[in-house]
């Protein structure tokens, strides 16, 4: 199957085979194409090319409903439950056709899996693990052939994860074809019978899980192991930021950053690597002052330019001004002086090579790479003391990527303290003076990249 979004192929001629009675783990980094694959299998996306078939029979899903009718059930990464409804009401809401037997049916399934499900509890009152059990029961009620689990363990405790795996093995014995989407190596190896690794929309490898080593999987996921992970500290000055024993808790009280300590010095780049979702974004936001201010002179390059970086309907100049609004080059006692704004913006656009006809065009008119340049440009142009960057080169072509790298190194030479969060170990090896790997919210330091990839404890 092939699926394109604009010029980007999210999936590029991907072949995947599911067998009854088998757990098929699909591994990949963010942006590898996992979500697109889930979208196609669940009928939410239609492939541009390629086809789905069951044996000899060709399938075409025109909607999620089609896929469900055929027997593809999904447990989504984000719970699809109405918080104010009881468990029974949520199940009835989802039931195809007859909803009168819902309670009975749900109880049967729960019993079979060895769960005690309180059908009268309100979804809002349940723990994450219990919500997930509801989602699984919900998926099993239509009794399909294929069960898709999209990152099911993201918010589970280790015990809940173990229980989920027990149930998955149980369902495998019942003859279901199970797809486990994950970016955790250990999970893929502990329940998977077969692993498929996606990278940049392509299948890197698809083979039985037996005998595959975690290190090998990590290499398949992120590309070649970088030559050198830890670099000696170079020419670092005085300490600019000192973090001691920082913990951050998520919305449900789970620990996302766990007792982290480190320092940032002027003139150094400290790298934070690891599989995404291990606390990097939360730590970056804390450093950048997005979650309550810590310092005045921090420039932040957020991870997701469209969600957190840009106001897409607003003009390129407004977006550039967002963090430069109070600088003398553009404003005077709160008034943005039009001719100053224009000359400043045009200088920045030229300096950072942002390709656009006009600085008054909306940011949405730019290509992804140029949108990223806007975010990088406004962060670096002010020559900040502290820079926090999360995947600053995501989606950029080689030339633009090199440019961003040279800008970061230039900032370092100037004496900036830089925290560089990146899932690309090669990028960290290239730029960082020292690199921490984040895993489960903690900082690890070591030299075997493969061993340090997320999920391995």
């Amino acid at each position: 199957m092939t699926k394109r979004f604009g010029p980007v192929a999210a999936l590029d001629k991907v072949d995947i085979a599911l067998y009854p009675g088998e757990i098929h783990a699909v591994l990949g980094e963010n942006g590898a194409g996992k979500s697109t694959l889930v979208g196609i299998l669940s009928g939410n996306l239609t492939p541009d090319d390629g086809d789905l078939s069951l044996g000899e029979r060709k399938l075409s899903f025109r909607s999620a409903r089609d896929a469900r009718k055929f027997g593809v059930d999904i447990v989504q990464q984000h719970f699809m439950l109405v918080p104010a409804f009881t468990v029974a009401e949520n199940l009835a809401l989802f039931a195809l056709g007859d909803s009168s037997r819902v309670v009975e049916h749900a109880r049967e399934i729960a019993d079979r899996l060895g769960w005690n499900l309180d059908l009268r509890a309100r979804a809002a009152d349940l723990s994450v693990g219990a919500l997930q059990r509801v989602e699984i029961v919900k998926a099993l009620m239509s009794d399909g052939r294929i069960l898709l689990l999209d990152e099911p363990t993201a918010t589970l405790t280790p015990n809940e994860t173990e229980d989920l795996f027990r149930v998955m093995r149980r369902l495998r014995e019942e003859g279901k074809a199970i797809v486990l989407i994950t970016h955790k190596l250990q999970e893929a190896l502990s329940v998977g019978d077969r692993v498929t690794v996606l990278r940049r929309g392509k299948v890197v490898v698809s083979m039985p899980a037996q005998g595959v080593s975690p290190g090998q999987l990590a290499v398949w996921m992120v590309g070649d192991t970088p030559p050198e992970l830890n670099k000696p500290l170079r020419s670092a000055g005085s300490t600019v930021v000192n973090v001691a024993g920082l913990s951050i808790f998520g919305e449900r009280g789970e620990t996302v950053v766990d007792n982290v300590s480190f320092s940032l010095s002027a003139g150094e780049i400290v790298g934070f690597g690891g599989v995404s979702g291990n606390g990097q974004v939360e730590l970056a936001e804390a450093l950048a002052g997005v979650r309550g201010s810590i310092a005045d002179d921090v420039a932040y390059i957020p991870e997701d330019r469209q969600r957190d970086g840009l106001a897409l309907p607003m003009s390129i100049s407004d977006n550039l001004l967002a963090s430069a609004r109070n600088r003398k080059e553009v404003s005077f006692v709160g008034v943005l002086v039009p001719f100053k704004v224009r000359s400043w913006c045009e200088r920045v656009v030229a300096k950072f090579g942002i390709k656009t006809d006009s600085i008054d065009a909306p940011a949405s008119s730019l290509s992804g790479g140029n949108q990223q340049k806007v975010v990088v440009a406004r962060a670096l142009d002010s020559e900040p003391e502290i820079i926090v960057a999360v995947n600053p080169t995501r989606g950029l072509d080689i030339v633009a990527e090199n440019y961003v790298h040279s800008q970061l190194l230039e900032a370092k030479r100037r004496g900036a303290a830089i925290a560089l969060f990146s899932t690309d170990l090669e990028e960290l090896a290239l730029l960082a003076d020292r690199t921490f790997i984040m895993s489960g919210g903690r900082l690890l330091q070591g030299d075997n990249a493969a061993e340090l990839m997320g999920g391995l404890e």
Binding site: V290, S293, Y300, R307, A311, D318, A322, V335, L336, P338
Partner: protein
């Protein structure tokens, strides 16, 4: 380009659906709104509060705060203004006028501030809080004109009129066109300048367009939202103040015929642009002024305008969504 044509088309369709004689209706509407000095002045008087409320709506909505409480803020504003007018009788007239006007604005701002505070502290949805506060303000006015602010003269539920010298000077005694309407374009330009050319306005627009991005640029999102809502309330309060000091200077139950609501479609039709709000306000002001003539056909006159206003805004919103999608598709 299509907008004026579309508006006329919708107007024509509405007239047909209402079953009124087509040519005659259009002619009467036109004459009532722009036919002579009386019509033109009536149009200007009608559009003034609509434009002011539209400006208030724009300030809040641009910040993503969907203020539906213009009516309540307008009424609470004039309540405060009326109270100050009653208390400040001793001051010279030239001082009283601005003081009362400012009191109206502050009243509106404070009243919107309640919704802002609930939003900031408790996360209460602004649409709901502002709608509900409308009713509180209406009943507060109703109480005041029967109690503390009631005229000493009689039993009618209305306030003591503001002294003639304190009210805006009349530009034309025949039509009661007053000096206060000149404030409206001034405020439109001020709002435009604030939004477009100040760092505060930039922050406000960023917060409205993408609060996450605003946060990443270290903007205090909640603070900006509350300030935007209070500015919005101030403009709605001033809408009431200009009307209060421009007309008879009397407060009564139905002081506002719903300006606080009618201003919202004016803002939408202007694409939330403060200068276009003047044009859009003039258009609707003209329709309301003209609809007086249609009452010859029964009570359908202003009903026709309300129906047409709703239809026009729906069409406008739908078409602009469509236009956005077209450009997005063209791009990909």
């Amino acid at each position: 380009m299509l907008l004026p044509f579309g508006l006329v088309l919708i107007l024509a369709l509405t007239i047909l659906i209402f079953g009124l004689p087509f040519g005659q209706s259009l002619q009467l509407l036109f004459e009532g709104a722009l036919g002579d000095k009386f019509g033109i002045h009536r149009t200007i008087l009608k559009c003034a509060p609509l434009i002011m409320v539209a400006l208030g709506t724009i300030v809040a909505w641009r910040a993503g705060m969907f203020n539906i409480g213009g009516e309540g803020q307008l009424i609470f504003g004039v309540c405060v203004g009326g109270w100050i007018a009653a208390a400040a009788g001793g001051l010279p007239a030239g001082v009283q006028t601005p003081v009362i006007l400012i009191a109206c604005g502050l009243g509106g701002a404070l009243y919107a501030g309640i919704a802002g505070w609930l939003h900031a502290v408790r996360g209460v949805n602004v649409v709901i809080s502002t709608i509900l506060l409308n009713f509180v303000a209406l009943h507060l006015l109703s109480y005041l004109v029967r109690g503390p602010l009631q005229t000493s003269a009689g039993t009618i539920p209305q306030s003591e009129p503001v002294d003639k010298a304190v009210r805006f000077s009349i530009l034309d005694p025949q039509t009661a066109l007053h000096f206060g309407v000149l404030l409206v374009p001034v405020f439109a330009v001020i709002v435009w300048f604030l939004l477009k050319h100040t760092t505060g306005g930039l922050k406000l627009r960023l917060v409205g367009a993408n609060p996450n991005a605003a946060r990443a640029s270290r903007i205090g999102v909640t603070r900006v939202q509350v300030i935007a809502l209070m500015l919005s309330g101030a403009l709605c309060g001033l809408a009431g103040g200009i009307e209060y000091l421009g007309s008879s200077g009397i407060l009564f139950d139905d002081f506002s015929p719903g300006w606080g609501f009618l201003g919202i479609p004016v803002a939408l039709l202007a694409g939330l642009h403060p200068l276009w709000a003047v044009v859009s306000g003039l258009y609707f002001g003209a329709l309301f002024a003209g609809s007086k003539n249609l009452e010859a056909f029964g009570a359908t006159g202003s009903a026709l305008v309300y129906a047409m206003q709703g239809a026009a805004v729906l069409a406008f919103v739908a078409i602009s969504r469509f236009a956005v999608r077209q450009t997005e598709e063209a791009k990909s």
